[in-house]
């Protein structure tokens, strides 16, 4: 009983998260349409070479320290993939984020709050 009541209380939030994930490609397409570049301080090495005139040595060495499986919420092939494919990966990233962040925080919260009883 308490579970179903809890579920009802939170159902609208879960729906809201799903809607946000489905709308998330706005965050991919709007900057493209309006020709907005990277966030300040988040340029790639090639970008910074253009902006500053050189690539700082430490930055060049460490920028690719980590190979993320879905870089920038896109396909592993990166920015050259067709825009529609990037949009699909963006939505997929959104749902992956809901599952992993929600699942991780839920487990952590249960573990911490559960110890009180």
């Amino acid at each position: 009983m308490s579970f179903s009541r809890e579920f009802r209380e939170y159902r609208k939030f879960l729906v809201a998260l799903v809607v946000l994930a489905l709308l998330s490609p706005l965050g991919l397409y709007m900057p493209r349409i309006l020709k907005a570049g990277s966030a300040w301080g988040e340029w790639g090495v090639n970008e910074i070479r253009k902006i500053a005139g050189y690539a700082p040595a430490g930055m060049e060495r460490n920028a690719n320290l980590w190979k993320a499986p879905m870089p920038d919420y896109g396909p592993p092939s990166g920015e050259n993939a067709p825009l529609s494919r990037q949009g699909i990966f963006y939505i997929l990233s959104g749902f992956t984020g809901i599952l992993l962040c929600g699942g991780g925080a839920w487990l952590l919260g249960r573990w911490l709050a559960g110890e009180k009883k």
Binding site: L17, A36, A39, P56, R61, C101, G102
Partner: protein, 232 residues
């Protein structure tokens, strides 16, 4: 605002990890003491919510992008320590899976986005509410909106300072920077202007509107503090 790998030198990113580690432990202890089981799902929703909000890149046409975080809203719902933990989870997943924020910079990003923002915003919300003697829901929502704006800007300032001290710490004999190349005099105005005028305003609107919605919904209990001492 997610600092990538290669922008901060080891002294800065190691210091940030060293500051975050005990804070995470304190947060776990606070949550253990004060979080009621009813709010556990809220912690999960908060982590997922901030992850998604950060995907909505807001363009400044022809220039750069930025995004909201939801950090102050989350701090109001689950307390600032709960916000610190849930947003930290989102930031770790963003770095590991999506390369948004560097691996070396996870400590710094958690410090700025998951700690500075919720705490600055949460205390701004408390102070505005108290000083203005606010009791009406509408004004509380407005106070929350202002606190959201303030919180995001506090995080932007912390980030700008971390960027800006890099040339001071690491510049070669040839005058070239090793890591982030822009000094404080460039980093702070560049980061603050866009956050004060645009991204912070979006954050404030999201915060105020969701608080207003929650006040009028059956979930208004979420806005009452999760055990007052979470704020200490």
């Amino acid at each position: 605002m997610h600092i990538p790998d290669g922008y901060l030198g080891p002294p800065t990113y190691i210091a940030a990890y060293a500051i975050c580690a005990p804070l995470w432990a304190v947060a776990a202890r606070k949550i253990r003491r004060t979080l009621d089981a009813r709010r556990v799902p809220l912690l999960a929703i908060s982590a997922a919510f901030s992850f998604l909000v950060m995907m909505f890149n807001i363009p400044l046409p022809g220039a750069t992008t930025g995004h909201a975080v939801g950090g102050v809203l989350i701090a109001i719902a689950v307390g600032p320590w709960g916000a610190f933990l849930s947003i930290s989870i989102a930031l770790v997943i963003q770095a590991l899976l999506f390369g948004d924020g560097g691996i070396t910079a996870i400590g710094a990003n958690c410090l700025n986005i998951a700690f500075v923002m919720p705490f600055a915003g949460y205390f701004a919300y408390k102070i505005i509410s108290r000083v203005a003697g606010i009791s009406s829901g509408k004004w509380k929502a407005i106070a929350a909106g202002i606190a959201g704006w303030f919180g995001l800007n506090a995080a932007a300032l912390a980030t700008a300072v971390e960027f800006g001290i890099q040339p001071l710490l690491h510049t070669g004999a040839d005058g070239r920077a090793f890591y982030a190349p822009y000094p404080l005099s460039v980093a702070i105005p560049a980061m603050m202007l866009e956050h004060l005028i645009v991204f912070g305003v979006v954050e404030g609107l999201v915060t105020g509107l969701v608080v207003r919605y929650l006040q009028q919904s059956r979930s208004a209990w979420m806005l009452t503090p999760a055990g007052e001492d979470t704020s200490e």
